[in-house]
């Protein structure tokens, strides 16, 4: 008898633990069948800045139910830094991935190449495709198919504190040399540092790289170009900015430190993009929004260059509600939503028709950034595009913290690229 009890207890215990394992994926069935009315749940992973951008996006996303009352939108904000990893983990294992993800432009070809995204050709998501800016649409295509819809486009500029500039009696620098003299003057007059340069993210290095006429790789000729003389010169430029005291940098917590320092008026300038505008306005130095000035990034020896970036909306290939997801993507990239986002967050729309609207045309940040984006340097839209940053940031930080020379840093980055991109020169 005792044996029987033990066995029963064992079986029961196993049963409970198995049930606990199985209940994890609480999937949401449904979808649209027959009637044509969409239903089900669309989970959206948004990566926008918490505290400023996320509120607007959450509201807009949830408004989708006004159009499709039977669809529930589940808004999830995933920090930008974690999103790529989290999505890959979930997508690869086949459970826990969202239906729609806000995918950074460089991630999109990578995800598509790995088979994680649903092709959108011929679906509701690609309505009025001709309206999208050509540059913005470039990163959504992979291997002849379209895998995403451009949500926002951006580039980088110099954000500056007008009050500090006035106090120091300086003008906005147009070249690196001017940047150095302006910083020196600001330090002398106000005791503040001129520029904050993020040292923990290679994206902040690109403006300097392009400014010297360099690039990470050249996708047309299939050559690695980070280690050519222009690349070396770019490393020298940033190192010189930090060594000379014109710029300060950090190897950890760069984003937070940069925003805090700039918002509190401890540094006069930072290089940043439209995604930082809403957060910057929240700082005490910018309670008067007019204090925030914005200008093109200083030009290097070869000219002025800033990277083109942005975000797309992509649908997960394993989504159980594909039709609702397509409709959601279409809605989130519609002219109405883009206008709203532009108005409230100063983010740049990806549809040319939206730029004509008065709300958008009157926004100072957008009128500034639009010409910058038009001239911005397009990144190589290859599956490895996103992978180029990991080796680069290591060398970039090493150069800034004096662990390696600009020459060696460029060389090592080039070697890693050639290992990553088989058969490239």
């Amino acid at each position: 008898m005792r044996r029987g009890i033990a066995a029963t207890a064992l079986v029961a215990a196993l049963g409970v633990s198995l049930a606990a394992c199985g209940s994890g994926d609480g999937s949401t069935g449904g979808g649209s069948k027959g009637s044509g009315e969409l239903s089900g749940t669309v989970t959206w992973w948004d990566t926008s800045t918490v505290g400023s951008e996320d509120k607007v996006f959450k509201k807009l996303a949830e408004d989708f139910t006004k159009k499709h009352p039977k669809v529930t939108v589940k808004y999830v904000n995933v920090p930008f830094g974690d999103a790529q990893n989290k999505f890959k983990n979930a997508a690869q294992s086949g459970s826990g991935a969202p239906d729609v993800i806000r995918s950074e432009v460089a991630w999109t070809p990578d995800f598509a190449n790995l088979g994680y995204l649903a092709p959108l050709d011929g679906t509701a998501a690609l309505k009025d495709q001709d309206d999208f800016l050509k540059q913005a649409a470039a990163s959504t295509k992979y291997d002849g198919k379209t895998y995403a819809v451009p949500q926002v486009i951006d580039s980088m500029g110099v954000f500056y504190n007008k009050k500090i500039f006035k106090e120091a009696g300086v003008e906005v620098p147009k070249t690196i040399d001017e940047l150095k003299s302006v910083s020196a003057k600001i330090k002398q007059k106000t005791g503040k540092t001129g520029l904050y340069l993020r040292g923990d993210d290679a994206y902040w290095f690109l403006s300097f790289l392009y400014g010297e006429g360099g690039d990470m790789v050249n996708a047309e000729t299939k050559t690695v170009s980070i280690d050519n003389p222009a690349g070396v010169k770019a490393f020298k430029t940033v190192k010189d900015l930090v060594d000379s005291g014109a710029a300060k940098t950090d190897a950890t917590d760069g984003w937070n430190n940069m925003q805090t320092a700039f918002k509190d008026g401890k540094v006069a300038m930072m290089i940043n993009g439209p995604w930082a505008v809403a957060d910057t306005y929240a700082g005490k130095e910018f309670a008067d929004k007019a204090n925030l000035g914005i200008a093109p990034v200083p030009a290097g020896s070869a000219g002025q260059g800033a990277p083109q970036g942005g975000h797309n909306l992509a649908v997960y290939a394993g989504s159980k509600n594909l039709d609702a997801s397509y409709a959601f993507v279409e809605y989130m990239s519609s002219p109405e939503v883009q206008t709203q986002v532009a108005k409230e967050l100063s983010l740049l729309p990806t549809r040319s028709s939206v730029y004509g609207k008065s709300d958008v045309a009157m926004n100072e940040m957008i009128t500034f950034f639009k010409p910058v984006v038009d001239k911005a340097v397009e990144r190589p839209w290859i599956p490895e595009g996103g992978s180029l940053f990991a080796p680069l940031v290591t060398e970039y930080t090493k150069v800034l913290t004096n662990q390696t020379t600009p020459e060696q840093g460029a060389k090592t980055a080039g070697e890693s690229y050639r290992k990553l991109l088989k058969d490239w020169k």
Partner: protein, 337 residues
């Protein structure tokens, strides 16, 4: 009188959420098996679920990791299931190529170098501080229980919380440490932004996290040394240092050898402190073997599972060799653990 150095709870409290547990090879003797099955079948039946679960959650990943390290598996060629699509695995067996690459390239060896420096300095400083504090608390001093509480505090705080707190303290511009230094007229120290300071900083945090365990373990050891020995030595005219050297240290040996072994293994694999504090940076200055292995399999794209597993297997081999050598040395000195 033995000290309970329950490794599980200690590991958790010190912030190591890495599931650990290696069988120590329980060699079954042939004839004994049958006999023990007939007499102890009930015990075997009770143990079976545990054995199965351990086999599934430790054995399977271990075997699979070793297998992956002999292939060229990466994110592009492993088996994937995306919704209804199922993409089969296409990676190939490459033999020991990965091991040759790791051991002949300079990345593994330089990371190993820093990992050893990190382990030795953390363990020795933690042990020395733990021993000092344990001696202090073993005396009848006023407010002893308050001190004990305070000193065990780092242990009670979840590891990641402490590490994040330290990250705030270390912040170059807004951190408390630099504010205090500024009060003393000292320039800001680039705690996490300078390679040398970053190394110092990660060691300091790990020591802070590790001291309570050492202290409690050694305190238990101290309390098990009979007081009569000290009285007798005092009668014979032995000084404080002599008593420490000839009674305390030998009396603590069984405890200290165990805690040093455990602490070495934990520190060698101390993922959270490095990862959460510096992510291995600046550059690769504080990258230890486990954080680098994590980087291969989660941070780079395409994720390199083969290289990551190779590093994992090498870590396992290094620690097994260390444990074996350590055990042999102890046995020579007449200690058994």
């Amino acid at each position: 009188m033995a000290v309970d150095t329950s490794s599980q709870s200690v590991a958790k409290a010190a912030g190591e959420d890495v599931a650990r547990g290696r069988s120590r090879g329980t060699g079954n003797r042939q004839g004994a098996v049958k006999r023990s099955l007939s007499t102890h079948w009930y015990a075997w039946a009770m143990v079976a679920p545990v054995v199965i679960v351990i086999g599934v959650i430790i054995g399977y990943p271990l075997v699979r990791g070793i297998w992956l390290s002999l292939t060229d598996a990466n994110e592009r060629n492993v088996e994937r299931s995306i919704g209804v699509n199922h993409i089969p695995a296409t990676y190939e067996f490459v033999g020991v190529d990965n091991y040759v690459d790791a051991l002949t390239g300079n990345q593994f060896l330089s990371t190993l170098g820093w990992t050893l420096v990190w382990t030795v300095s953390c363990v020795s400083v933690t042990f020395a501080l733990g021993l000092g504090l344990a001696n202090l608390l073993n005396r009848r001093i006023a407010g002893r229980s308050v001190y004990r509480m305070l000193l065990i505090l780092p242990w009670a705080v979840p590891g990641f919380v402490s590490v994040f707190a330290w990250r705030f303290l270390y912040n170059e511009d807004n951190g408390l440490l630099n504010k205090i230094l500024a009060g003393g007229g000292i320039d800001a120290v680039p705690w996490l932004n300078d390679p040398t300071w970053a190394k110092f900083s990660v060691i300091a945090v790990n020591v802070w996290l590790g001291v309570p365990f050492m202290m409690v373990a050694l305190l238990g050891g101290l309390q098990s040394i009979p007081g009569e020995l000290y009285e007798a030595a005092e009668m014979d005219g032995a000084g404080a240092l002599q008593r420490f050297r000839h009674i305390t240290l030998p009396g603590l040996r069984s405890v200290s050898t165990t805690v040093i072994l455990l602490s070495t293994i934990w520190t060698f694999n101390m993922f959270p402190v490095i990862f959460l504090l510096t992510r291995g940076g600046p550059g690769e200055a504080t990258q230890i073997l486990v954080t680098q292995a994590y980087k291969f399999s989660f941070e780079i794209s395409p994720r390199d599972y083969a290289q990551s597993s190779t590093w994992g297997v090498l870590i396992l081999i290094l620690l097994m060799v260390f444990a074996a050598v350590y055990r042999r040395v102890l046995r020579k000195q007449g200690e058994v653990w």
